[in-house]
């Protein structure tokens, strides 16, 4: 088994200053303290596309946007029981990121799978923001343990549990891995580059399928056989 000791672990505020973000390196392990909120396509459409005002003070209260939906249920006293929390795949939200950064002042985007380094350079770097990826990605129970309380939930009736904006008080919420840095580099891309080097050898001896599909050729007039 590899030793994880060399992975650096960092505790970070959910309203981090620029220097704290600059000191983070790809592959660092991060735990968050403060207030985080969930916002994904439902909230993005409302705010970015439709211009609905934010339901809370951002980024004063939080600069940490989690692409997630909690497994939550309402208790009889009206408070919420958050069981587990896991992220959802972030690449689907790239088209809203620039607008969202401008509306919310977010500095940290947490989610699943990250985005491309092009997206980071185009949208994240100008807004001094970085991307933290969840781990696994199935570490929902660990993340659930980091959620101390549901401070509030917005747009629950309109958007449903999964898409509502959940405002969560968190303590040592994590682990997260630093996926993009302040220069817009991507850890996933760095790893993929290393892996890609060995792929040709892996495919040796296999042959392309008898019947091709579009996607394997972008020429729609191709016979495919």
């Amino acid at each position: 088994m590899a030793s994880n000791m060399k992975l650096k672990k960092v505790s970070l505020s959910t309203t981090p200053d620029e220097s704290a973000l600059r000191s983070l390196e790809l592959g660092n392990i991060v735990y968050l303290n403060g207030l985080v909120y969930s916002a994904r396509e439902g909230a993005y459409i409302k705010v970015v596309d439709e211009g609905t005002p934010l339901p809370l003070d951002l980024p004063e209260l939080s600069a940490a946007n989690f692409h997630c939906s909690p497994a939550a249920a309402k208790r009889p006293d009206g408070s919420y029981d958050v069981g587990a929390v896991s992220a959802t795949a972030s690449f689907r939200f790239r088209k809203w990121m620039d607008g969202w950064f401008r509306a919310s002042g977010a500095r940290l985007i947490m989610g699943k799978g990250g985005m491309s380094s092009d997206d980071y350079k185009r949208y994240f770097v100008p807004n001094n923001a970085i991307y933290l990826t969840t781990v696994g990605y199935g570490t929902g129970a660990l993340l659930g343990r980091g959620v101390k309380r549901v401070r509030d939930v917005h747009w629950l009736n309109e958007l449903g549990i999964a898409q509502a904006m959940w405002i969560l008080e968190v303590e040592n919420l994590g682990p997260f891995i630093v996926e993009s840095d302040m220069n817009g580099n991507s850890l996933f891309e760095r790893e993929n580059e290393k892996i890609s080097a060995g792929l040709a050898k892996l495919y040796e001896g296999t042959k392309p399928a008898v019947l091709k599909r579009f996607g394997e050729t972008d020429d729609r007039s191709d016979e495919l056989i």
């Binding site: 994880n4 587990a84 990826t133 990605y137 199935g138 659930g144 001896g205 042959k207 399928a209 008898v210």
Partner: protein
């Protein structure tokens, strides 16, 4: 007669077990993957997962925040009779799914594909899926709850006999690499491969291969069993590990199920049962006894029968 209230209470327990308790066979598989993993990031991911499974059990909270799509596999011995009949059985499973979603809690993932209507209980049109199987003997009812996760990690392709085993391997690698990048498949996974049948049956066989066979189980056809091992090894030699980081843990096990198909084709489907390989099973007897287990024991000689007659003469 199998009492319907026992079906309900058992279904509630299974929903909870599936969401919270990682099955032993998969856990053992992740542990040995963690021992063998040499990539530091991939290894960190596996260690975190092992911690996560413990946390889920200690806190009685769902192991993953995406609690997947609950679905049911139901099997009956030929002599089983259920109080209220099959409709009452289906109704009970739907009710238990809704109630458990609220009580555990699970994430209400199920929405209308177009209107995105969410009843906040994982119930809707054609949801949850309830599939049935039968066995020639017995008066029992088997319930298997599967909470299938993963939007990423499934594909289907019509291959042809001339594509051969090399074609199967190539499509296997294509799927694994495409969905393994950035860890979208939440690997290392139990992979299910469906071969043959027709398009829909091929998907069904592959999904059942992933969800209803335990780690270490081999197909009774010795050559298919060999291929299962070979594909596992191939997957683990990509150079990719958990979350798509450099490493060697992609596949915990591979299961292949076949179905007879049209003479001209060789359909192939690929399914990944993710880091939250959630399944829980129980057998209910007419006297109300319930036995819990994690092995669905779905694929019996009867399920894979090849001839007209049963029993074999």
């Amino acid at each position: 007669m199998i009492p319907i209230d026992v079906v309900h209470s058992t279904a509630m327990t299974l929903m909870e077990k599936a969401a919270i308790e990682i099955p032993d066979d998969y856990l053992a598989g992740i542990k040995s993957a963690a021992d063998a993993e040499e990539g530091d990031l991939s290894s960190f991911v596996l260690q975190s997962m092992l911690e996560n499974y413990e946390t889920a059990k200690d806190d009685r909270r769902a192991m993953c925040g995406d609690t997947g799509c609950p679905r049911w596999y139901v099997k009956m011995g030929n002599e089983a009779r259920i109080e209220g009949g099959p409709v009452s059985l289906e109704t009970t499973l739907r009710r238990a799914t809704a109630q458990a979603t609220n009580e555990i809690p699970l994430r209400p993932n199920r929405v209308h594909p177009l209107w995105r209507t969410d009843h906040n209980n994982n119930i809707g049109i054609q949801a949850p899926e309830i599939e049935f199987g039968f066995e020639p003997e017995g008066d029992w009812l088997d319930l298997v709850a599967v909470h299938k996760g993963g939007l990423f990690g499934t594909d289907y392709r019509m291959l042809f006999p001339s594509d051969g085993i090399e074609g199967i391997k190539r499509f296997f690698l294509d799927c694994l690499i495409a969905f393994g990048k950035r860890g979208l498949a939440c690997q290392p996974a139990i992979l299910g491969i469906g071969l043959g049948g027709n398009k829909d049956a091929c998907m069904v066989h592959g999904k059942r291969a992933a969800c209803l066979r335990v780690v270490g189980d081999r197909n009774p056809d010795s050559e298919i069993a060999e291929l299962e091992l070979e594909l596992t090894e191939l997957g683990n030699s990509i150079g990719m590990g958990a979350m798509g980081f450099v490493g060697n843990s992609m596949v915990i096990d591979t299961h292949i199920e076949v179905g007879y198909c049209h003479t001209g084709g060789m359909q192939m489907s690929f399914h990944a049962f993710c880091l939250s390989s959630r399944r829980a099973c129980a057998r209910i007897y007419p006297d109300g006894r319930v036995e819990y287990r994690t092995d669905p024991r779905w694929f019996t000689p009867y399920q894979r029968r090849e001839t007209v007659e049963w029993p074999l003469t």
